[in-house]
């Protein structure tokens, strides 16, 4: 090798029979001097846009060949970067093994957070040649389970295919995700665990001065450290074992493994606690190489052996090198705790065969801001083989949600192409709701048009089928009812999607203060439609139920039922008043010049309205709503009239009244409490604004401390 290095580079490519290498540097230099300023010589198909992806040699930000360690895996191995055994001294070997385990965990968390596998987990050179580690049972078994775990998680994220962020996540660049026999990683891990367990028992027996009946070779040579090292290894091995079991349990179809998964989650959490406890021991025995640093990726604080992030970077580079900061061990453990807690929430779900319950569960789950891996698991649980939880056909879920009796579940109408299309829309909705909030909002906005088109198509099919009113039959009547109910439900669902789309804008911080007036106004008009459609749907369901039980009721009760507005609709009504109140308050602040209006030199409020609600307008959600409608509604708002018809007081009153109906629903109760709080405070603020109309020192601020998207107004003297 040294001899090769000394040879001139040009000699490495021999001249062909009819050609000889020649140095054309002077010719190139002369030719370049003849070029005009800014002139490029290029082929006919060259274009500058494509060239933007080019790398630039010798630029540190782009050239992955600069100032790096090794140029190939073989070279790194030959130079002892990843030795097997890690050390000839057993104590050192064990200590370094634990460092490798810790750093791999930190790399794994960093990978889950959105960086590439090649530059995180597979920066470990021990993983890249599976057969190399076979003589070191502990290292070999650990590498096997790491590869198997990465493969399992890749499979979940790839299968969920959320199209949001997993491109980098799932890029494997030909890395060895399966070594030979990795599928048996658990049996080997169990064997190693058993060995270390026996070693732990032996050293404990030894320390209590009882005779050692077993002939157990110790883990390493220092008896004083034996117990500490055994425990430190065992909790790390057991975490791996239970984590892999967890993934396999959750993989079982139709949620059959969820109960077992919860047990493994509890075990993982327990082992993480032991991993944390082992830190003090490991730091104390780090041989002075340790640093007390919050960024440490190992419990001991030592740099781990066997990692080189730049190798894979170079092997796989069509992209510039990115310096990745590997999470600290503490941050990695926090990440895994969060992941385990999120997976536990998923495993605790009851798999209620109700579309509404599933939608509510996803919304609630997303509030805890789960990461990609947890969200992918939820999506696969909800939708398998086009069925809810892999077992409940989507059409029967739709009929149930639409308030239709169970006998309609198997009706032939589900073969209608628009019904099939509707089923697909529901599947897409469930999947989209499992994505990150940013992607979710974009997709919800776009799917509104699909829902609208499907509604129109179903409506046309409905009218076409029942144009001949003269014909009647039992099946005809059932079809009529099915269409009616489903059409009402589709409209309600469309407005529900629109409502969520608008709310997510607050979570994502897409609105500026100057947008709030129009956003709350639009929420107000969408909520009116949502309440209207929900009321219609519930009334139809109520009628269906009433006909079945009419013989059991007297006329008085029937009459009473007709006049009751459902609690769910009243809940929406309180929000309608709240949104309207907020919109009018912002309008009054603008009209009375207490908020400085935005004045762009390039466009007006009209263009902002168009942009903010473009996707809803295209979907006619709702119909006949435009900027002009918005201006007409708000241009005369002032504090004198607002105080007279106080929308906030109305909202507060309804929220208070409707609470008793949701005694068994803690989530809705909590939401009503929040609505009530915002309404109460805003009503007070409204009165202060009116009373202080002539006081220029009064300023109005808005905060979201009581509700994630209904603002609370605060009036202060500045």
């Amino acid at each position: 090798m040294a001899e090769d290095r000394s040879l001139p580079p040009r000699a490495s490519i021999p001249s062909a029979d009819n050609s000889v290498w020649a140095d054309v540097s002077p010719l190139l230099q002369a030719a370049c001097q003849d070029l005009q300023e800014g002139e490029l010589i290029h082929g006919d198909n060259f274009n500058l846009f494509a060239a933007m992806s080019a790398l630039e040699i010798m630029d540190p930000k782009m050239d992955s060949g600069i100032a790096c360690t090794y140029y190939s895996l073989d070279e790194a191995i030959e130079n002892g970067v990843a030795p097997v055994p890690i050390s000839a001294d057993k104590t050192t070997d064990v200590r370094c093994m634990i460092d490798i385990m810790d750093h791999l965990l930190a790399c794994e968390a960093t990978w889950h957070k959105g960086h590439s596998l090649a530059q995180t987990v597979y920066s470990c050179l021990y993983l890249l040649r599976p057969e190399r580690t076979s003589s070191h049972a502990l290292l070999h078994s650990y590498c096997k389970v790491i590869r198997a775990t990465c493969k399992a998680i890749l499979s979940v994220v790839s299968e969920a295919r959320t199209h949001e962020e997993e491109d980098l996540f799932t890029m494997a660049y030909g890395l060895p995700l399966s070594g030979n026999g990795d599928e048996k990683c658990l049996s080997m891990l169990n064997a190693v665990e058993e060995t270390i367990s026996r070693q732990l028992r032996a050293c404990k027996a030894s320390s209590s001065k009882r005779r050692v009946s077993e002939d157990v070779e110790p883990l390493q040579n220092n008896p004083d450290l034996e117990e500490g090292y055994c425990k430190a290894l065992l909790c790390r091995l057991r975490f791996r074992k239970h984590f892999y079991h967890l993934l396999m349990s959750m993989k079982r179809p139709q949620g059959r493994g969820l109960e077992l998964a919860r047990k493994h989650i509890a075990s993982c959490i327990s082992e993480i606690d032991y991993i944390r406890k082992s830190s003090e021991f490991l730091r104390a025995n780090a041989h002075g190489m340790s640093e007390q640093n919050i960024d440490n990726t190992t419990a001991s604080g030592c740099q781990p052996i066997g990692f080189d992030a730049s190798l894979n970077c170079r092997l796989s580079a069509p992209t510039p090198p990115r310096s990745i900061k590997i999470l600290s061990l503490e941050k990695a453990l926090e990440y895994f705790m969060k992941l385990l807690q999120d997976l536990d929430v998923i495993c605790s779900y009851s798999l209620d065969p109700s579309l509404e319950a599933a939608l509510l569960f996803v919304i609630k789950f997303q509030k805890s801001q789960p990461d990609l891996v947890a969200r992918a698991h939820l999506q696969l649980l909800l939708v398998q083989d086009g069925k809810l939880y892999g077992r409940d056909p989507m059409f029967s879920m739709i009929t149930r949600a639409a308030g239709l009796p169970e006998v309609t579940e198997n009706h032939d109408i589900q073969k209608n192409e628009f019904m099939v299309q509707l089923g697909q829309l529901v599947i897409n909705l469930l999947k989209i709701l499992c994505t990150n909030a940013a992607w979710q909002r974009r997709k919800l906005g776009k799917m509104l048009q699909d829902w609208r088109v499907t509604y129109v198509q179903l409506e046309m099919a409905f009218k076409g089928e029942f144009a001949e009113a003269s014909k009647t039959s039992n099946n005809k009547k059932i079809c009529f009812k099915i269409y009616q109910h489903i059409l009402a439900w589709v409209e309600e669902q469309t407005y529900w999607i629109a409502f969520r789309f608008l709310n997510l804008g607050f979570e994502l911080e897409l609105y500026s203060v100057h947008d709030y007036c129009m956003v709350y106004w639009y929420i107000y008009v969408v909520l009116i439609k949502l309440a209207e459609k929900k009321h219609l749907r519930m009334a139809m369901s109520s009628d269906s139920a009433k006909k079945k039980t009419k013989k059991k009721r007297d006329s008085f009760k029937d009459g009473e039922m007709d006049y009751q507005i459902p609690a769910a609709v009243l809940f929406l009504q309180s929000q309608i008043y709240l949104a309207e109140g907020l919109s009018m308050m912002f309008a009054a602040l603008r009209n009375e010049r207490r908020i400085v209006p935005l004045q762009s030199p390039f466009n007006t409020e009209h263009e902002i309205f168009i942009q903010q609600f473009e996707l809803l307008q295209k979907a006619c959600v709702p119909d006949h709503i435009s900027y002009v409608t918005f201006k007409e509604s708000t241009m005369h708002a002032n504090f004198s009239t607002l105080a007279i018809c106080d929308h906030f007081k109305e909202a507060q009153k309804i929220a208070k009244e409707v609470k008793s109906s949701f005694a068994n629903d803690p989530d809705t109760m909590a939401e009503l409490r929040r609505v009530e709080q915002v309404a109460e405070r805003n009503s007070i603020a409204l009165n202060v604004c009116r009373a202080g109309a002539l006081d220029p020192k009064l300023k109005t601020f808005f905060t979201f401390c009581h509700h994630p998207f209904y603002a609370t107004a605060i009036v202060k003297r500045s």
């Binding site: 080019a54 630039e56 959105g114 940013a438 030199p601 390039f602 466009n603």
Partner: protein, 197 residues
């Protein structure tokens, strides 16, 4: 990616009239743009990236000079994008000692005017959600936050896609007056806007 703190100078004192704004004028300006951008932004751009923008749309790039020293630049492009003629702000840099003095706003305003006069229907760019200076600057010019892009930058930070929609058909009659009024009341600003396609 933390930006270099190479500039330890305090803010430079100067009159706004001392800043000279120049449209991109040729190859002699290219190294100035490259040095500014490379110095301030963490994303790596090859020379072909710069050539792509300034060769095809030289009229959309501007440089700001103070006493012969280049202290800021904006680089843009425009073209058809899904049935919309769209302008795009690719890079905006003002070096630290000159920030907060309206230079970035002036650079961007000039390029937007050219894009508007060239028939663009809208202008877009991406900015880090944490870049308050840029968000304030573009917000004042009428950009809305059209989208949030999850983990857009490889350091894990999200981006906002900012959009400015021009009025349809012709300008509103009141706009020229607003523009004049606005320019006489320019406020503080600064910021930079790395781009991704």
């Amino acid at each position: 990616m933390d930006r270099d703190e190479a500039e330890t100078m305090e803010n430079v004192e100067f009159d706004a009239s001392e800043i000279e704004y120049v449209s991109y004028g040729g190859e002699h300006h290219l190294p100035l743009v490259m040095n500014l951008v490379d110095q301030e932004l963490s994303e790596p751009y090859s020379i072909f990236t710069y050539r792509y923008f300034v060769y095809l749309w030289p009229q959309l790039s501007f440089l700001a000079f103070h006493k012969g020293k280049c202290v800021g630049t904006v680089v843009c492009k425009m073209g058809e994008h899904r049935n919309t003629f769209r302008g795009y702000i690719a890079m905006l840099v003002v070096i630290k000692p000159y920030r907060g003095r309206g230079i970035a706003t002036e650079l961007v305003t000039r390029s937007i005017k050219v894009m508007m006069e060239s028939g663009c229907e809208e202008v877009t760019l991406e900015a880090e959600v944490t870049n308050k200076g840029a968000l304030a600057l573009y917000g004042r010019l009428g950009f809305i936050r059209a989208k949030r892009l999850f983990h857009y930058y490889l350091n894990g930070v999200d981006a906002f896609r900012l959009k400015l929609l021009f009025p349809r058909s012709e300008l509103h009659p009141s706009l020229p007056m607003m523009a004049d009024k606005y320019e006489s009341h320019m406020q503080s600003d600064h910021g930079d806007a790395p781009f991704k396609e």
